[in-house]
Structures are given as structure tokens and as C-alpha cells.
């Protein structure tokens, strides 16, 4: 069972919480137990599981990632833009997939945990795949 979530990011860098869409997908699937595999098919975006309750937390995450990999003008990848080049590196560091446990028909997430798409070079049209593996 596969779910494709299409959306558009709205800023150069942001965290987009996809928890509600993925929880609804799990609920609609009627699968009682198994795994939900979430995958981001982009090279300037990634997936982060973290708190979304205080909007300053995503800000801190993005700010610190940006501090580690600032948008410089001397990246080797110059075909696109400096922010695109930085986005590739950031995406590599945070990763593009996450696996969640399904039990009793629900995602086993901590109460403040969100499933956050990390935009590192937006705004762009984006998509996320979610696949349920019963078991």
C-alpha cells in the first residue's frame, strides 16, 4: 500500500509537518500492525523526526544546519545555484527516509514528534512516499 503526498514548500528553508497526512494514511489502511516506511525522493530536501510544537524548534534545527553548512559561493557543483549545492549537502546529512512502527492501527510516535519534511532549497514542488509493510 503506497501513499504519495504532493505539496509545495513555501520558503527557501523550512520544515513541513506531514504527520497528519501519514497518520491518516495509516488509519485508512486498516493495517493493525507493521511498519510505515517514509521516503523523500529529493536531493535538496530530507526527513527529520522531531518536535513541532514550539515553532522555534524547527527554526533552531534549520539554523544550526545552516550554521554547519552555510550557502557558500565556492561549492564545486555550480551547474545550479549556491543554495542548491548547499541543499545537496544538507540533505545528505539529515537523510531521506524514516521507518515507523504501527501498532493497534496507529503510528507509534512520541507526543511531540512530527514527521518533518526538511526543505533546503525551496520553494519547490515536492513529494513524499509512504509505504505500509504489514507484519
Amino acid at each position: 500500500m503506497l501513499k504519495v503526498i504532493n505539496f509545495q514548500s513555501s520558503a527557501r528553508e523550512e520544515l513541513v509537518n506531514l504527520k497528519d497526512e501519514i497518520e491518516a494514511f495509516v488509519g485508512d489502511s486498516k493495517i493493525d500492525a507493521g511498519l510505515c516506511f517514509v521516503y523523500c525522493p529529493h536531493t535538496t530536501g530530507g526527513l527529520v523526526v522531531n518536535s513541532y510544537l514550539d515553532p522555534n524548534t524547527p527554526k533552531d534545527i534549520l539554523h544550526e544546519i545552516d550554521r554547519l553548512i552555510p550557502t557558500r559561493l565556492d561549492f564545486f557543483h555550480t551547474f545550479d545555484t549556491p543554495s542548491d549545492a548547499a541543499g545537496h549537502v544538507k540533505s545528505s546529512l539529515v537523510g531521506v527516509s524514516a521507518v515507523f512502527v504501527i501498532d493497534d492501527g496507529k503510528l507509534m510516535l512520541g507526543h511531540s514528534q512530527g514527521i518533518l519534511f526538511a526543505e533546503f532549497d525551496g520553494p519547490r514542488d515536492r513529494m513524499i512516499f509512504a509505504k505500509i509493510i504489514p507484519g
Partner: protein
């Protein structure tokens, strides 16, 4: 060497769609790495210079730099830049000024001199050649080179080469804006895609303009003078269009700014002088409508180069050259030039002439020597040292 065929530019115009379809991506790849991101990011102004068609291309592309890239652009003829422009450039900061020399042949002496002098005035300036041959004197005098080579179709007044120069300039403008963060790379890529899609507009416009061009040439072969008017990028198109009439048919022609026509040439005789009004949808369109009415009242024969949906100028026109499909004003010179190339060809045929006066043996002989030296016919007679 044989005289050029009167209709040689028709094949050139027919091929424009193919040029866009096949050449935009390869040229874009060169443009992307012509400067480093740091250099692109440092730019605050661009001077563009050339002679003949290349100068017209600079005029036609000015809006792309200023509106898309949001960077000051100063187009100048090579002579003006060489003697009355480059000495007055602000050279306070390194890498904030780009000087672009355009030469289809790569051998235009004044453009080469302009680039050379720019570097003598200040090493802080970045010089760039946009050319169909970057190994010539223009490329030799430039820090960076953008090769806009297109497959050779034989000798002709430049139509495809002009388009190649325009493509190079517009892609450069898009790249500057992209790296300067005027818009996201997805928007930049959308603009590049939009340029490629103009190939279909070029093909359709070529087909739709053949008959009007033929009919207009028959009706206007008595004209001793033909004027083209346009504003913004269409002023560049007007200059280029007039050049094609002269080069191909030998009929006296000029390109003029819309508003300037209202102040000067409207008072000229004869009353029925043909006037091409080049009016794409865009900023200057409203004034073109006004002036079409004035021209009609004066008895001018009006030839409208407008979008096929256009009504106001179309209803006043004796001949309409419709552009089939939407074109943003910044890209319009790539398409709105087609009418003149076709009209000039049929006019040449009607008058029994050959482009560049190649029916005359002495002209042919001189031209053969020019081509052997990889220079264009318009550069004939220029024997001044570099």
C-alpha cells in the same frame, strides 16, 4: 562565389524554431559556468556592445537584463563604447561590472578593440565574448567566452546568428538573476523551458507570416523608404528589421523608437511611406496603439507585427504579420524579427535584386575575401589596425 539568392533569408527564418529547440540547452550549459557563482553574485551592471546585428541584439536584450535579472544594462555600439563609453565606467569595485562583446563571426575589430580597451581601463572589469567563433579576435580579447555556434546554412544576411546572439544574452540575463537570488532556480529553469517552447511559436509564426510577407512585398515594391518602429526590446527588433531590408533588398530603411517617430519621422514625405509597427503585448503597447492611429490619419501604409489576438492595431493595418502564441516581452525579439526577414526576402525578389548587392562582381570578389578571413559582409572595408 555566386550571388546570394533573393529568398535566402526565408530558409533562415524557417530554421529559427530548430535553432531554439536544439541550441538553447547547449548554450545554457556554457552560460552557467561562464562566470563563477562569486563573480555572478558580484555583478551590479552589464555593458553590452556590438556592431550591426550584434548591436541590435544588445538593444533587444536590454530589457531581459533589467527586468528579469534586475541589473543595470547599458547597450552601446562598439564604436561608442570604445571611444565614448569605456573611459567613463565606474571601476571602484572588482568584478561588479561585466562587459559583453557580441560578434557573430568572432572577427569584428571594433568589438575586439572595445573588449581590449575595457581591460586596459581597469583589470577590475570582467570581459566576455558571445560569439559563433570564440577563437577570433573578439574571443582572444575576452576573459570569458560563450560560444553560440549554430550549424552553418551558407551565406545570408544574419537571421539565425542574430537569434543565437540573442539567446546567449537572454540566457546570461536569466543566469545572473538566478545566482543573484532574484528568483529561485525552479523559476529560472521555467524561463529556460519557456524559451525552448518558443520554438513552436517561431514555427507557427513563420508559416503565418509567409503570405502576408509576399503580398506586402508585391504591394510595397514602389516604396523608396520603409520605417520600422518599436519601443523597449522592440526598438532593437526595429533596428534589426530595417537592417535586413537594407542588406537584402537595398531599399533605404530605418528603425526608430515609437515615441521618436511621433516627434520626427511623422513629418516626412511621402505620406504613404510604409511603417512597420512592432507591438508585442507589453509595456509600450498602449503607445503603439496611439501611434498607429496617427500613422493611419497621415496616410501611412501600416504593417502590424502583433500577436494574433491583437485587435486595435490590426484593424488599422494594411498588412498584419501575426505572432502565433504568447511571448513575454523580454523574449519577443526572438519571434517578432521573423516578419522582416520574410518581407525583406520577397521584396528583394520583387525588385530583382540580390542580398548585399551580390549581383555586382566587385562586391562578390570583396565578399569572398571577407569570408576567407572569417568576417561578415558588413565588416567589408574595415582595414584599420587592431
Amino acid at each position: 562565389m555566386n550571388p546570394m539568392h533573393p529568398l535566402v533569408m526565408i530558409d533562415q527564418a524557417k530554421d529559427l524554431g530548430k535553432v531554439m529547440r536544439e541550441q538553447i540547452k547547449p548554450i545554457d550549459r556554457i552560460v552557467r559556468n561562464a562566470l563563477t557563482p562569486l563573480e555572478y553574485r558580484s555583478l551590479h551592471r552589464v555593458y553590452t556592445t556590438g556592431d550591426g546585428d550584434s548591436f541590435h541584439a544588445t538593444m533587444a536584450a536590454e530589457m531581459a537584463f533589467e527586468d528579469i535579472a534586475q541589473i543595470t544594462c547599458e547597450p552601446m555600439s562598439a564604436m561608442r563604447f570604445l571611444e565614448y563609453g569605456v573611459d567613463y565606467i565606474n571601476t571602484s569595485f572588482p568584478n561588479d561590472t561585466l562587459v559583453v562583446g557580441i560578434s557573430a563571426s568572432g572577427g569584428t575589430k571594433r568589438v575586439a578593440q572595445a573588449l581590449k580597451k575595457a581591460k586596459q581601463v581597469s583589470a577590475k572589469l570582467i570581459t566576455m565574448a558571445i560569439s559563433g567563433s570564440v577563437d577570433g579576435v573578439v574571443g582572444q580579447n575576452a576573459d570569458r567566452k560563450i560560444l553560440v555556434r549554430i550549424p552553418d546554412m551558407g551565406r545570408s544576411p544574419g537571421v539565425r546568428t542574430y537569434s543565437a546572439s540573442l539567446i546567449g544574452l537572454i540566457l546570461l540575463a536569466i543566469r545572473i538573476g538566478e545566482i543573484k537570488d532574484r528568483y529561485h532556480q525552479t523559476e529560472a529553469n521555467a524561463m529556460r523551458h519557456e524559451l525552448i517552447e518558443l520554438a513552436d511559436v517561431a514555427d507557427a509564426t513563420y508559416k503565418a507570416n509567409l503570405n502576408p510577407a509576399k503580398e506586402a512585398a508585391k504591394a510595397l515594391k514602389d516604396a523608396e523608404f520603409i520605417i520600422f518602429v518599436g519601443s523597449g526590446p522592440s526598438y532593437g527588433t526595429a533596428l534589426f528589421s530595417a537592417a535586413k531590408i537594407i542588406e537584402s533588398s537595398g531599399v533605404v530603411s530605418m528603425g526608430q523608437d515609437l515615441e521618436e517617430w511621433a516627434h520626427v519621422e511623422r513629418f516626412a514625405y511621402p505620406d504613404n511611406t510604409p511603417i512597420f509597427i512592432i507591438a508585442p503585448t507589453g509595456k509600450g503597447y498602449w503607445r503603439a496603439v496611439d501611434l498607429a492611429k496617427s500613422a493611419k490619419d497621415l496616410g501611412r501604409r501600416i504593417l502590424a507585427v502583433v500577436n494574433s489576438d491583437e485587435k486595435e492595431i490590426t484593424r488599422l493595418a494594411d498588412f498584419v504579420f501575426p505572432v502565433i502564441g504568447g511571448v513575454r516581452e523580454e523574449f519577443s525579439p526572438l519571434i517578432y524579427q521573423i516578419a522582416a526577414a520574410l518581407f525583406a526576402s520577397y521584396l528583394t525578389e520583387e525588385l530583382g535584386r540580390n542580398p548585399f548587392q551580390t549581383n555586382r562582381p566587385e562586391v562578390l570578389e570583396r565578399m569572398a575575401a571577407m569570408f576567407a578571413a572569417h568576417r561578415t559582409p558588413s565588416e567589408a572595408g574595415d582595414n584599420k589596425p587592431n
